[in-house]
Symmetry: C2
Subunit: 644 residues, 2 copies
């Protein structure tokens, strides 16, 4: 069976005009990017210096000093450049572009003559490059720099960083590969794989696609590379400890990639690896690779995903555990893991227009990704639990990775710039097309131009989402099919064309309308926006007897700030009489949900256990969007899954 590939409209052809996402884009462009610039230049007061720019200056011989930071410190500079690229695509900014050019010049000066470019090895552990792919994120940093290079080239047409990166990639490829004499290794932390596909698309050079394929297919083969590498290093790991063998699950090398069937290990590594494989398959149409990707997608999203679009059940290894093991209070659910699955979803959508991908993409976007950021754009969660109790986070070991207040910035600063690059490139997730059909995957207000085989189509989308169910799409003329997603949460849609009810053909969750369109034809889509009680598969022990509230794509939570403490004592009534009320509380347009519930009365005695007696107060609870939790001072408890 031939795989029909479609292509997302490039960012420069899509202008996001959405009210909801416009605010996030503004935050990303006006707050996160400048803040991140300060951070990588060690200008944020009361915060440990990042040293990221300084490492490059030292590598370039322009400053004295030693390497500081994580082995992946370079990636902070790369992610900043990537986000800047998207920001420049959205809107020109000469000053910002000049700053970016200067950083790129610096990177160029830091690059070694042979093309090598990783300040950890240029300044820090000199001469030991390519000896510790397991721990030292060399390929990970190269990948981020490559993504930045491709993005900056797409944004500005300037090739300098792309050329720098290509020289580095060529060096890596000359040292690592299947051929005799090369290191038969691959990335300890995937990222380069997906970046190679981007560089291929930017340069047209097939060697980058081939190298990507090598990295994916070499992974998990025998003899097992990481154990060989440990042996070479005298069984010493990066932290000076003795280590006999690598954790094959942690870094997804427990089997050759095409044989893997379960999402395992470090969830960000997993998401990046799967994205790289899917990106490759989406270029090559490689069916067995695509099959593996789909199997892993299905496992991750139908067995191991939180209702918020979070991934990673355990703090140990920041990792997946196994099917249906989804504890809410000790979950890890790293912001970056959610983001990595948004990347994965987009790649899968290129190979199969199936709402199982875009529904999850939407779930991640409105919930488990942006929950990582405070609405001031300056405070960030690394982990996003679905239930939290401040005192436990402070005092119970095993809970301490979860917080009720977003800290300012991190030593390990992966999540904020990852959010920045996702949000500023959101235009790249909305529309795709193949020869004869335009696909609309997300309800996000935007103006776009997409390419069919013989023409370009202009699309204008206005939408009330996520707070209201109405969207209005205006199209330019021609004979083609227009397909839009009917979200699983909606089940159906009321569709009109130019004010008249219209039929559609439903395939894999998408409504297809094929006709001769006239310029200015308007499709009105109305999705039902009732408050829904969502239940989890009974195999998820942790959610038994509980429901999550969802309205449209937005998952809700209850906070102690609105509902008092002991949220676990709250139980929805059989008829909760939901009221969805626009309140503009924390965010313009924000809709709160009110529901009838009972709350167990506090005991008057100090007993710990007693014979059961009823004793409830009738209350009305107020739920707010999960993404907005912990934006008020008095947040001491939060829960998504409410007893029913």
């Amino acid at each position: 069976m031939r795989i029909e590939l479609n292509e997302f409209a490039p960012l420069k052809n899509v202008k996001v005009t959405d009210e909801f996402w416009g605010k996030y884009t503004d935050i990303a462009r006006n707050v996160i990017i400048p803040y991140q610039w300060q951070a990588i230049n060690d200008l944020v007061p009361d915060t440990e210096p990042s040293h990221a720019i300084k490492n490059f200056k030292i590598a370039a011989g322009e400053e004295e000093g030693e390497f500081h930071g994580y082995v992946f410190q370079d990636s902070d500079v790369a992610k900043w450049l990537e986000a800047v690229s998207y920001s420049l695509t959205i809107e020109k900014n000469e000053e910002l572009e000049k700053t970016a050019d200067e950083v790129i010049d610096l990177i160029g000066r830091a690059q070694r003559e042979d093309g090598y470019l990783d300040t950890y090895y240029l300044v820090g552990d000199k001469g030991n490059e390519f000896t510790n792919l397991l721990d030292c994120h060399e390929m990970y940093c190269a990948g981020h720099m490559a993504e930045a290079a491709a993005a900056y080239y797409e944004a500005t047409g300037k090739r300098k960083l792309l050329d720098i990166v290509c020289r580095f990639l060529d060096l890596i490829e000359s040292r690592v590969g299947k051929e005799e004499g090369k290191i038969h290794g691959y990335s300890g932390h995937p990222e380069l794989e997906l970046a190679l596909v981007r560089v291929y698309k930017a340069t047209g050079e097939e060697k980058y696609l081939k190298f990507c394929e090598y990295l994916i297919d070499e992974r998990g083969t025998e003899p097992y590379y990481f154990d060989e590498e440990l042996k070479q290093r005298g069984y010493k790991n990066h932290w000076g400890g003795e280590q006999k063998t690598a954790d094959r699950f942690y870094n997804q090398s427990y089997k050759p990639f095409r044989e893997q069937t379960e999402a395992v290990g470090h969830s960000v590594r997993a998401g990046y690896l799967y994205t790289g494989a899917a990106a490759l398959a989406a270029e090559t149409g490689d069916e067995s690779l695509l099959k593996a990707c789909e199997t892993l997608w299905d496992n991750a999203t139908t067995k191991q995903m939180y209702v918020t679009g979070g991934f990673g059940s355990t703090v140990y290894g920041e990792a997946f555990s196994f099917d249906y093991q989804l504890p809410n209070d000790i979950s890890y659910t790293e912001t970056c893991a959610a983001i990595s699955f948004a990347f994965f979803a987009q790649k899968m959508l290129r190979t199969d227009v199936n709402s199982k991908y875009s529904d999850v993409l939407e779930r991640i976007l409105y919930n488990g990704s942006i929950s990582g950021m405070a609405l001031d754009g300056k405070h960030f969660f690394y982990t996003n639990p679905l239930e939290t109790w401040e005192e436990a986070n402070k005092r119970a070991p095993g809970y301490r990775h979860n917080k009720t207040k977003r800290p300012g910035w991190f030593g390990c600063a992966c999540c904020p710039p990852n959010l920045a690059r996702l949000i500023t490139s959101l235009g790249n997730y909305i529309y795709s097309s193949d020869d004869k059909c335009v696909y609309m995957h997300l309800y996000i207000g935007s103006e776009a131009e997409v390419k069919l085989s013989d023409k370009k189509i202009k699309i204008s989308q206005k939408t009330q989402m996520p707070w209201g169910g109405k969207s209005e799409i205006t199209l330019s003329g021609g004979k083609y099919a227009f397909a839009f997603r009917i979200p699983a949460w909606a089940g159906s849609a009321d569709v009109k064309i130019n004010g008249e009810s219209a039929d559609y053909e439903l395939k894999k969750g998408y409504a297809y309308i094929e006709r001769e369109w006239c310029d200015g034809d308007v499709i009105e889509i109305e999705l039902p926006m009732e408050v829904q009680m969502i239940e989890a598969n009974p195999n998820v022990r942790y959610d038994a007897g509980k429901v999550a509230l969802q309205r449209g794509p937005v998952v809700y939570c209850i906070e102690s700030a609105d509902n008092g403490e002991r949220l676990s004592s709250i139980k929805l009534k059989d008829e909760p009489e939901f009221r969805a009320v626009r309140e503009d509380l924390l965010f313009e347009g924000e809709v709160s949900i009110y529901a009838k519930a009972v709350k167990k009365k506090a005991w008057e005695t100090e007993d710990l256990y007693r014979a059961f007696t009823a004793g409830y107060d009738e209350i009305e609870i107020k739920a707010i969007p999960y993404a907005f939790w912990a934006n008020r001072e008095d947040t001491r408890e939060m829960e998504v899954w409410i007893r029913r």
Copy 2:
């Protein structure tokens, strides 16, 4: 206020004739003690050798070799000797006594000329004694040996081990203490404190009481001893790591003992320390010490105790966490921690006849202590969770300390011998007396003689407990008060004397009847044995919306072996129509509980989340005593707290 102290009838004056406990005593005497003997002599096949006896032989110069095992390996020999002592008290056994005498002779030969006696330092880390009280369990091992010595002396009248131990204690006391030139230290793992009180009682030597008082009062003072010790050792801990400061919470030295108000840290350390302090207070009547003990008791048992009488919410440090933080599936609840609180309860009962102590003692005995042992007496749980899911225990980090099958024996073999010594000394927990009153704390079939100021009273107790509510106490004559506990779970009792309804005065949970008793007077006590639904304080987030089933003192659980998997999908009906049925399933006399419930149907789709729909099967669940769980092959899930 003068504290009125009562004294428990010594073991030799109480013969346990109880059906329920008789079985456990038989297991302890006929299975655990011989098995433990094999273990400490490295005779158990397929198990890592204990090396415990061998370490003594090497110390005695009778074998070649190196020290092997934990730093506290000696305590396994001591605990065996202690259990043997109780066993010999219960019933003479010349062969066993001969074996014990030989072990004691060996210990004597292993003792250094100056009295020093810890094979870890005699054979292993030579010359470094008293340099690492923090990590190396030196005082802990001395304490266990001292307990064994006192017990063996009480059982046999033989002083040899007691003399050996006293020489060692005198050496310790000459090196550690308040005086200048001495080490101002105390135990990293408490145990010596409670043992010193026992040695004082066996020898009458007040110096042991004084040393106990020093150890308790020095704890947590400034300058902080353990930090001084770390400094002395160049900030190296026992495992070779660098360590700047000791964890003051882990070992309960965060404040001077008398100022401590919260049970914290390693729960076995806590239980032993509190027991030692209570034992001291129960000898001296020291009010401020007693007050501290009561405060800690109240905190531990009314804020941090599981309904099974388990203690220790977290695997990190095998420790308490904080008030009401009682997760059921990741709890630690070490068998030894429950046992240590049984010790603590008994000491507190000497100072205050209050059912808040004896109710917890009973809860521990019937539930969270014996759950540590399989009914074959050969398999043991280290930890006793209240909810378990085999796959999570195998695959989810953070859950792996909990198991659904009891392993055979442990490298760190603290729990089995601890159970053996508790069970074989159970006679020492039932009756106490002061000048004018006999107290019956537990409903356990027994024949006893207790001492009042002017006479000895004979008591014969027959009881149906824990399966039935009727007990019959026959007393010998005289004018005195007889007081027996009305358990909190009963609320009241139907009491008859010689067949006639009798009144009693209720004080602190005990029914007092004072009169001129005639020889052979019979008190019949009937306690209600309805199945109770127990609820937890609403501050315990983890138990919200759930109940535990209890009948008499026995807490029940449901197992997948009876109720299928996905126990979380089970919900009791509003009217569960409980049926308590004697079934003799795993244990003679065992009563199962049946209840009407519903169980969420499995989904027919692979979805992870969907809009809520009802869909339940009407079922009858079967609950078994928690103590007996995991005694069948097909135990894959268990839960105590059931949704209601």
